[in-house]
């Protein structure tokens, strides 16, 4: 890994300043994705601006929403009783990311900002209709995720909080890549209080995506059985040595059913 200048500002404003000053800066939150990428030489920033010094962690639960500070680790989200009660699917999702050691360091802000196509959080954000708060503005999740490893974040902009409206029911089911444990197919299902349903898939395509046919079926009847015979087309899905596009397409239906069964 190439050397870099390291700073760990205590304030968001200072982090933004440091990024603006840097020739080729990278923000780092938990470092669970960035550090392996640096080790592999996939990136060689001049400056790493560590956001862990901002100490912005914790979840605030109100009657309508759960707002999680960007620096909250996966373990903290998974262990938060308020989150578990309000959005069980989100709690399950956080508790299944990586492994215990990764969950101790990786953060929701880092996961959202990186938008790895095999990451879990983007599925929840999109399915729950989250609002991403940044150092500059608020963005809805569907505007935030723009494609593989890309988001609407600009230059020095930092994710500060993720606000999730509380659904009536939510569930997440993941089929992990047997080697990496990343999502090969993950499906987040959320039913809002008005009965409408969102079904969002991660890991299977170049980025998170919704499945309108499943959403329509589940809006009529929120049961796994309602998904019988509904399948996503394989075309355009990821294909690799672990799972062909066809297998991923099949797993989407299976995982969607399991997410519905698990939804609380």
């Amino acid at each position: 890994m190439e050397n870099f200048n390291y700073v760990r500002p205590a304030k968001t404003g200072d982090a933004v300043k440091a990024m603006k000053k840097a020739k080729d800066g990278k923000y780092m939150s938990g470092g669970m994705t960035l550090l392996p990428a640096l080790k592999q030489g996939l990136a060689s920033p001049t400056d790493v601006i560590d956001l862990s010094g901002l100490k912005n962690s914790g979840a605030k639960v109100t009657a309508k929403s759960v707002t999680i500070a960007a620096g909250t680790t996966h373990a903290e989200v998974a262990g938060d009783k308020g989150v578990k009660k309000a959005i069980p699917g989100l709690s399950t999702l956080a508790g299944g990311i990586g492994d215990p050691h990764v969950r101790h360091k990786g953060t929701i802000g880092g996961s959202i900002a990186n938008n790895d196509p095999a990451a879990d959080y983007p599925a929840a954000a999109l399915a729950l209709g989250a609002t991403i708060h940044t150092s500059d503005r608020k963005l809805s999740a569907d505007k935030f995720f723009t494609g593989m490893f890309s988001t609407a974040l600009k230059g020095s902009e930092i994710v500060t909080d993720v606000e999730f409206p509380i659904p009536k029911k939510s569930g997440y089911a993941k089929f992990p890549n047997p080697a990496s444990l990343y999502a090969m197919v993950g499906v987040f299902v959320a039913q809002s209080s008005d009965g409408s349903v969102k079904v969002v898939v991660t890991g299977a395509g170049p980025g998170v995506f919704r499945v309108p046919e499943m959403e329509a079926a589940l809006s009529k009847s929120f049961s796994a059985k309602a998904l019988d015979g509904i399948a996503v087309k394989a075309k355009g899905l990821n294909s690799d040595i672990h799972a062909s596009a066809e297998y991923r397409a099949h797993l989407i239906t299976v995982m969607a059913k399991r997410a519905v069964d698990a939804a609380k």
Partner: protein, 787 residues
């Protein structure tokens, strides 16, 4: 029973340092003025090396030296060797291509070693290596064993059709006749997938040249440091053996992958002189381990079994294409021949066997031993085809096996081996009972209610280990003997040091070997230390692989202990003024028959060194004896493993839900350690069946499974706890009656798992590793039919 003697569940002596972080692995060692090496590796599967320009790299910070094949040639350092000569059917010797420690004119696989950069720090060496400009002329490549003899990509000039040898064993005519007369023939095509061993400690080496004594020291992650010294001395020509010390300190797992002598370690020790004697350290990054550790398996096999009308096996015919990779590794040639085909009789009475093996070059990492080395591949062939035959003939698979078991010993197979002892029916009986075979249908029905497909699979494996009579292996092409050495040094205070040529890298020799000594000399196990892994301390030895350290290594110790006992008796007799014939030794005490005279072992040891009370013209002072033990036969551990799986019909996920292993290892020194060896072996065997899969991209020749992101290692949640049982027919060819247990699990488990999966989903065969995707795909035709 002595509580630290043979058969006792003694806690491991070596554990204290490992559980407190005080282990001493090669990468933990740092020498004064140490530099760091980083290797420039081929990004291509096959290419000519047109030029290497390191001018820019040489100017980079911290660079101490950059060396290529040119400097290696200048110093007349020889290439890597294969130590076992195999002859083809037509009598021609195997076609070994050159294997320089740094590429000369060609690279033959992705990761092939091209140049080395030595710098003050790891990071500097790596940065400078990236700046070395190598110009390649890309050539056609082939990574597929099945295509090797028809591809246009020719890996070595010496082998026009990429065929290293075309070897056979058995009686072709008699076997053909058995097939002509058969009532039933079962045919099965099998692929035993390539895997990457992945010992958790990556390979590492520190080479150091002492300009004062003109001698070299190499610290390395080796299973056989003396063999490494011999090869580096005699074949690479670096220095005579007495000027080269090889130390293999704590080694973090080997599984065969640390038997071969590798380019990196030779380069480090050689180049140290080139940079004025500063030590050079190299530690593989895991991605380098994936690319360059010797891989395992990679067989493509067609097998046929001839049966009579009663399901009695009449003959077995096998053709195997075995990938050797781009070069012949140290033992690469013997694995698909004399460690494979001679096991094809399994536990069965098969009157006629004929096997042909084509070994081929492919543009991949070299293939060498991986836990079991040839024997798992043989067990896979025989146990898969036997299971398939039983199913075709609608005979219960346990009954089918029993009908064909060898029951009289010694049993001469048609493929060299003569099984000395065993009771295969007894192990099967115990396994059936422990696995609750009779109630399997109920478990299957219960699983079906949960939407799971449950299957059961057998594996009645045999292995030949404890390599092996030296004259026998010599006649088969081995470059070295396969004995083992030991020296027993009794100190004046009665404590004992055992110098053994075996090497422990997880097997627990420091405990089991000490148990033997404790048992024989009646002394506390804490008064025994086991010294191994350092050629300056220990006499020449052959190292540890092939489950040989118990049967061969401990027998050498036992023989040396015999001599110690004999000598000590003479000393005791002299001191107690008795005839040596009247001295008895038991529980650590020497007594004189018919008297109350006695001496403790420690007292005799002291007397031997003080040497006041005996005539030193008749009895030499001191108490130190050595022995070399050459086995008279292989040893033949065997057993029955039964695996039950449940398959999730929706996803194809296979869960191993029950695993029973009953093994006959003869006498057991330490049941706790033996059980641990079986557990670990099973996990690796299950891994090969379900997880471990090495994949090269046919188009690009690149390794697709080059990290743990893509290469699946079995994790705790992928495995169940195992049920273990033991039967015992003591081995007649060594005084301890022990066989070998290190590889059994890895040999047995793979076919047991695949037999269970094919049983669960009702297919003849399934590719390994049977990942969820593979199983799901295999289930589709039936699902479609059901719909």
């Amino acid at each position: 029973m002595n509580e630290t003697g043979i058969g006792a569940r003694v806690k491991r002596k070596e554990d204290l340092r490992f559980i407190t972080g005080k282990g001493n692995y090669t990468d933990d060692i740092n020498l004064p003025k140490q530099t760091y090496a980083y290797f420039v590796r081929s990004p291509h599967a096959h290419a000519t090396v047109k030029s290497i320009n390191s001018a820019k790299a040489r100017k980079m910070p911290g660079v101490v030296g950059i060396f290529t094949g040119a400097e290696v040639a200048e110093d007349k350092i020889g290439g890597l060797i294969c130590g076992w000569m195999i002859h083809s059917k037509d009598g021609s010797p195997m076609k070994a291509g050159p294997h320089p420690i740094l590429a000369v004119d060609k690279v033959r696989y992705v990761g092939d070693h091209v140049a080395v950069v030595i710098a003050e720090t790891k990071e500097q060496a790596k940065a400078a290596a990236a700046a070395v400009n190598v110009s390649y002329g890309v050539l056609a490549h082939n990574v597929d064993a099945a295509q090797a003899m028809t591809t246009k990509a020719q890996v070595h000039e010496a082998a026009a059709d990429n065929r290293v040898f075309n070897w056979s064993i058995g009686d072709e005519a008699a076997t053909d006749a058995a097939f002509r007369n058969a009532a039933h023939v079962t045919k099965l095509d099998l692929i035993n997938n390539r895997l990457i061993p992945n010992a958790m400690e990556p390979r590492a080496a520190i080479g150091s040249y002492d300009t004062g004594t003109e001698s070299y020291t190499l610290y390395t992650t080796s299973q056989n440091p003396h063999v490494a010294r011999l090869v580096i001395s005699a074949f690479h020509g670096l220095a005579p053996e007495h000027k080269l010390r090889v130390i293999a300190p704590d080694v973090g797992g080997g599984f065969g992958s640390k038997i071969p002598i590798y380019a990196e370690e030779v380069v480090c020790v050689w180049a140290s002189k080139r940079i004025g004697g500063r030590p050079i350290k190299w530690t593989a990054e895991r991605s380098e381990s994936f690319l360059t550790d010797a891989h395992g398996r990679d067989h493509v096999t067609q097998a046929e079994l001839a049966l009579d009308a009663n399901g009695i096996i009449q003959g077995l015919r096998v053709h195997t294409t075995a990938a050797m990779g781009a070069y012949l590794s140290t033992l690469g040639s013997v694995i698909p021949t004399y460690l494979y085909a001679i096991l094809l009789s399994g536990q069965y009475n098969i009157p006629n066997i004929y096997a042909v093996v084509d070994a081929v070059y492919t543009n991949t990492a070299p293939v060498d031993a991986y836990r079991g080395a040839g024997r798992p591949e043989a067990a896979y062939v025989i146990e898969r085809i036997v299971e398939t035959a039983a199913r075709e003939l609608k005979i219960d698979p346990a009954e089918f096996r029993r009908r064909n078991f060898v029951t009289k010993f010694p049993h001469q197979t048609p493929v060299i081996l003569c099984y000395d002892t065993g009771d295969y029916g007894a192990t099967l009986d115990m396994a059936l009972e422990m696995a609750e075979y009779s109630s399997f249908p109920e478990r299957k029905a219960a699983a079906a209610k949960k939407g799971k497909l449950r299957g059961i699979g057998f594996s009645a494996y045999i292995e030949a280990c404890g390599l092996a009579p030296s004259n026998a292996v010599g006649s088969l092409g081995a470059g070295v003997g396969q004995w083992e050495s030991a020296e027993v040094r009794v100190n004046p205070v009665g404590s004992v040091e055992i110098l053994t040529g075996s090497h422990s890298h997880g097997q627990g020799h420091e405990t089991t070997f000490a148990q033997l000594v404790s048992d024989r000399l009646g002394i506390d196990i804490n008064n025994v230390s086991i010294v191994h892994g350092d050629t300056d301390k220990v006499q020449f030895g052959m190292g540890t692989y092939g489950s040989r350290s118990g049967a061969v290594g401990m027998t050498a110790i036992s023989k040396a202990l015999d001599k110690i006992e004999a000598k000590a008796k003479k000393v005791a007799a002299a001191v107690m003024e008795a005839s040596a014939d009247d001295v008895e030794f038991k529980n650590g005490t020497f007594t004189v028959k018919g008297t109350d005279k006695k001496m403790a072992f420690g007292e005799v040891a002291l007397s031997a060194y003080v040497a006041h009370k005996f005539n030193t013209a008749e009895i030499e002072p001191g108490l130190k004896e050595g022995a070399f033990h050459d086995p008279s036969n292989f040893v033949f551990p065997a057993g029955v493993h039964i695996c039950e799986v449940e398959i999730d019909a929706d996803t194809g996920v296979t869960e191993v839900v029950n695993y029973t292993a009953v093994d006959d290892f003869g006498n057991i020194i330490n049941p706790m350690i033996v059980e641990g060896q079986v557990h670990g072996g099973i996990a690796q065997g299950v891994g090969l069946a379900l997880a471990d899969g090495c994949v090269y991209d046919k188009e690009s020749g690149q390794l697709l499974t080059g990290s743990y992101m893509d290469y699946q290692m079995p994790r705790a949640a992928d495995l169940p706890s195992f049920k273990l049982g033991f039967t015992c027919t003591p081995c007649p060819s060594n005084p301890l009656g022990i066989k070998g247990c290190g590889e059994a699990g890895a040999i047995a488990a793979t076919p047991a798992v695949i037999n269970a999966i094919t049983d669960a989903i009702g297919v003849r065969d399934i590719a390994m590793p049977a990942t969820p995707q593979v199983v799901w795909k295999a289930m589709q035709p039936m699902r479609k039919a059901a719909e």
